[in-house]
Amino acid sequence: METDKTINTDATSESSQELQTRDMMLNVGPAHPAMHGIVRIVIDLNGEQIEHTDVEIGYLHRGFEKMSEQVDYNGVIPYTDRLNYVSPLINNMGYCMAVEKLVGISVPARCHYIRVILSEISRIGDHLTCVGATAMELGAFTVFLYMIKAREYLWELVEKVTGARMTVSYCRVGGLKADLPADFSEPCAEVFKEVRKVIAESDKLLTRNRIFVDRMDGTGIITAEEAISYGITGPFLRATGEEYDVRKDCPYAVYDQLPFDVPVGTRGDNMDRYLVRMEEMEQSMQIVEAALRDIPGGAVLVNSETGREIPAAEMVDLAKMGEIESISGGCAVAGPTLEGSSGPHHLSIASDEKRVSLPAKEDAYGNIEGLMRQFKLVMMGHGLRPPEGEVYFPVEGANGELGFYIVSDAAGQAYRVRVRPPCFAIMSALPLLLQGDMIADIIPTFGSVNMIGGELDR
């Protein structure tokens, strides 16, 4: 690895004083304080300049694709949470829409809107993490704290809807776990006010900050042609000036009905990627606001159709004692953890295809048809069986095109689940991005890659 060479330190002097130098091999990672994520980069250095880089990944390989072949279609959803764990809702959505395409069903418009709203909230969180972590590694610790605080507010929003902050498992094939909570737009507006404040403040702290700009500007450059050749998508590609966004170019869900712009850069360096991400957060917030305005069929607050609501547990007890009369006309009150998944909500968010979407919780607990439907979809060896076929479905993840390729042999489990992780392509271009730069440029360049080990190594 180390090659001896001599360089002329003083070309002008005739005495030509020669100094022995040699390339140095530097090993960064797998676990390094300046790397967020487990990745090993072996660098050949000439002085402080990077000559050649070797990127070694796979430290977080959990066999996602193999495991997905073992469990039923809905059982894969928790695994998808753990791909990009910063924006799990986008993975949920991508996987569920791929299966829906395979099965050939469509979901209600309200379900599409909720998926879009939560995807965009996740995207903001993802970009905040990326920009915040990059800024921290360049010394701007304040920005990191501000941005993580803003992300925490967004995750509180996510928690309101899904019950969890990160591993949400919120989408279902053919629908969602639960409806949005009542008047969701109010907390959403409050949080966005805070997030906008944070973004404006961070913008003041970073965008014209001499230290930050010097490190970001002109480092980690990639041209549009190179980026496309490497299969790079998402904000990383858009920073080069190429205007490819799955949401605009191959619109899915209801993105074609929502107004938003796709920000692009010009030079494809770290600074442009930072600016693109900053603007995308604003665009995402506008998408959410427009979606909350347009969302059809507002949440049903009270289930007062029969006026007789019985707690689910009590209903089960009654059924055991054979008191069926009180059950047939009544509906169960799902517990607080199941808020938003009761019948009237369920109708507006889940596909009416009974062979695909899970029943409303009160049906599963309260009547035999619902229980059977739940059983047929959940129990091992039963479950959803899409017809034989193969589909590919891309969505715009926070890092780029996130695609799911699913092959079915009409069995209860998928025959093959392939996820096309967006940061895999970006990481493969890392040697090109770093080549010729200084060793200190690894930090901003690697930061702007936004490597997420979970989706990179699967």
């Binding site: 796979g58 299969g231 129990m379 069986r385 590919y392 096309r420 493969s428």
Partner: protein, 192 residues
Amino acid sequence: MSKALIQTVTDQFPDAVIASHAYRGDQTVVLQRDGLVDVASYLKQQPDLQMNLLVDVTAVDYSVFGKQPATAFFASSGVQVRPTSGIPDGDPWPGPPAEARFAVVYHFYSTVHKHRLRLVIPIEESDTELDSLTPLWSAADWLEREVWDMYGIRFRGHPNLKRILMYEEFKGHPLRKDYPVNKRQPLIGPIN
């Protein structure tokens, strides 16, 4: 549902194309392995195609397709779903490639014309080698390494075909269907 791309490829390479379909609107061409590089470079260079983005390369092991053991006693009672009338089912899926164990699957996209095409190359188990697309797309480098790692399919002309997600000493190819899901192998320390 457009089949324009399938038509273009079939007209241009009648000998290489084995089959084609547009199941669920995904235009797919099944190709003979010798035709891969020609078709791929045609897709990339032809002005009205310009498939400049190699989105994904992956493989499928079709050895137990439709023959997976039942997971439970009532296994046959699962509910098969047919698509709703809203989504046309007119173009059925022709099934897995006949007599070939593996299929290597390429997904292409054109950022200029905004269209997608899938190429499927059946690969027999006796000769698991096909040409690399690394000269045409840099993206093929890591993606083909992953296919080699997971399926043991070799790519002729790949500059650095070594494992990517697993470690070098790992034995076998984990996504092959005959690799048991619960098999454990000792993890060997760092290589150097």
